[in-house]
Symmetry: C2
Subunit: 399 residues, 2 copies
């Protein structure tokens, strides 16, 4: 392995550094590691195999950096609320995320099934489901009705919503073997008894035109289910589902998993109804941080799109404050985004022909709780001994 380093312009906001850390893996398969230093100006260091064409890789990385950093200085992220957390007296500094994962693994509470996919038991499972229950209860108090969301979505659904055009690289595509008696035998015959992977090369499959993609965001299947409706009042729905994003080399621990659990709240209605509901969702963010005594912030944010239109889209989101995130403090290093509140305007309602009974197109907004990341924040800030947690969190795990 060798490394390539580049000095960036000064004044790069923290969220842009984080976006570079995550997205530069997508520049080229030769990128095996990405580091972005915290000094100003920052240095990007790329790890790649010895034989890599340096000139070509450098050109590609610089082009992607330029796209991702364009127009960024103009619209910085804004903090709208800050929670100091439980009184600091006697409270240790938050455990870094890798230490949390190490502790939970050593106790047998977390085991990795696959890079980015985990089994939880013990206190980790109790906290995960306790928080999910709390978020579901919060949603019901906001008047949301339960909706059951699948994870297997039609490719057409994600094309129609515009998701795949911008995020094809993050897709977890699903395919199957084609039906054929001889193919079945050939597959079984070719499988060594101690195989650890399958070789489907040369078999007839649906991979070229995969019929399904795993849900990348919990609200995606909600709108097709409302297609063609004319709403007589605001529709408020809430569901739990697993979401899936392929994050390449950025896949890491509980903070950036390939499979993660989401409790989602969605509202569709008139522009005014949706705006009022969005304000209720922002109030929920503040209330939950306070209730659990977690140190964190609510900030305006942008989605980490990074293909050609991304910088412009980010500026658009930030300038109109379309997206907010709950960020939990993890001590040194960046915080983790544990929930987001998003205004969609009439984007989804246009795509799925969802209108208002009185005329006009509906608007929508949503909130997603990333449950695994809330668990990470709790273990980082309060440690692994449940007796040392705030009472509000001890109640959550006690059911």
């Amino acid at each position: 392995m060798k490394t390539l380093s580049f000095r960036l312009d000064s004044g790069l906001p923290a969220d842009v550094r984080e976006s570079l850390r995550k997205n530069l893996y997508w520049t080229d398969r030769a990128v095996r590691g990405v580091e972005v230093s915290d000094e100003d100006p920052a240095t990007v260091t790329i790890t790649c195999p010895e034989g890599t064409d340096e000139e070509r890789l450098t050109a590609h990385v610089l082009a992607d950096v330029a796209t991702m950093t364009a127009e960024l200085g103009q619209f910085p992220s804004r903090t709208v609320y800050e929670s100091p957390g439980e009184p600091a007296a006697g409270r240790p500094a938050p455990l870094p995320p890798d230490r949390v994962l190490g502790e939970l693994t050593a106790r047998g509470w977390v085991s990795e099934e696959l890079a980015g996919s985990f089994v939880y038991t013990g206190l980790m499972a109790d906290l995960y489901y306790g928080l999910e229950h709390t978020f579901a209860e919060t949603a019901r108090q906001l008047g949301a009705r339960e909706i059951h969301l699948p994870a297997l979505l039609g490719t057409g659904t994600l094309l129609r919503s515009g998701y795949l055009a911008d995020n094809a690289h993050a897709g977890n595509y699903v395919f199957h073997l084609h039906e054929d008696r001889e193919l079945r035998s050939r597959f079984a015959a070719a499988l060594p008894p101690d195989a650890t992977e399958v070789d489907l090369g040369g078999l007839d499959t649906s991979a070229d035109r995969p019929e399904a993609v795993l849900s990348p965001a919990a609200c995606q299947p909600v709108f097709p289910a409302l297609a063609g409706r004319r709403l007589t009042g605001p529709v408020r729905l809430t569901g739990y589902t697993r979401c899936y994003r392929y994050e390449s080399g950025a896949t890491h621990g509980l903070g950036r998993a390939r499979e993660f659990g989401v409790r989602e709240i969605v509202c569709a209605g008139s522009e005014a109804e949706v705006a009022a509901f969005r304000d209720e969702l922002l109030a929920v963010c503040r209330t939950l941080l306070e209730r659990f005594g977690l140190r964190g912030k609510v900030v305006t944010a942008s989605d980490p799109f990074f293909i050609d239109t991304s910088a412009r889209y980010r500026a658009f989101q930030l300038s109109f404050e379309l997206k907010h995130e709950v960020q939990l403090d993890l001590g040194q290093g960046p915080p983790v985004a544990a929930a987001s509140v998003n205004r969609h305007g009439d984007h989804f309602a246009q795509a799925w022909d969802i209108g208002l009974a009185g005329g006009g197109t509906a608007h929508s907004c949503c909130m997603g709780f990333g449950i695994d990341r809330w668990c990470l924040g709790v273990f980082s800030q309060f440690g692994c001994e449940v007796e040392q947690w705030p009472l509000s969190l001890r109640k959550v795990v006690a059911g």
Copy 2:
């Protein structure tokens, strides 16, 4: 389209007919429809496109029929318990599954996202989560601790357990695009604005060696999480997860979906501990049928394996009564298998080196509740008006 018909031997058990209905789609891509009549002897009718090579298809279908029906008569399925259901007075005959789906769709409670993947709202969502809650409570009463199970499993996990060698055709394989700046642009450029499917042909992806398969059975990821342990007593775990099977043309309605929800209970321990727990699980089957007043049976059953070893494996399962199913009556037509109880012997413990502290290999068993199918059974037997349901079920949806 044209049809080919074959008369089968007489005396074919009902579960074998059902297995043929489901599995003959796997013989050849030309098979577009499979019907197996209920008379004795039964007739199989295959629908296929006009241009199909009849001789070749006939040979393939007959070969698969022979494999699936070999040795079958010897070990018929045995009914171990039968629940008459609520008193029949004034109770209408069960609604057929297609009528149930039509009714639920008309009320807006079920909408199809993709063939075999559904969104639920209204009474359907309330029943689904109410039953899941009931089954989870039942598991806790049996002493099971919560485990959180992912759906994205490593291909290696399903090879090591032996699942893929027998069931590669049912796999939902997951892949991603390889990291490449130019590939991203090429994909986006090739996407027509009104695309309804993606064409990934010619792009560099991981499809030939897919790294993940969607969980086909909820217990699969439990055993790797216990790998290497030496148990000092029985381990009882319970988790909720979504499972995925590609069922080709047999995919149909709520009874045979591609994605479905499972509440799972797993026990690992000594042979005697596992045998005792399995008996508790069988008692649970009876109790739940009675509690909800559902008409159904508990029967010995076999997995619908159908490649070369399948008939022998089925005979093995039936003769040793390794598998039981809860079958709910759906009126005319076959019942739906809504739960299964399975003895694994030391199969999984051998594969994952799970031992007993006192020496020897552990044994295991599991029970899975197919929640969507319980919902189908309830709507079929009691209709769509919650006021007409038995009190025990009204309590389930009331939370």
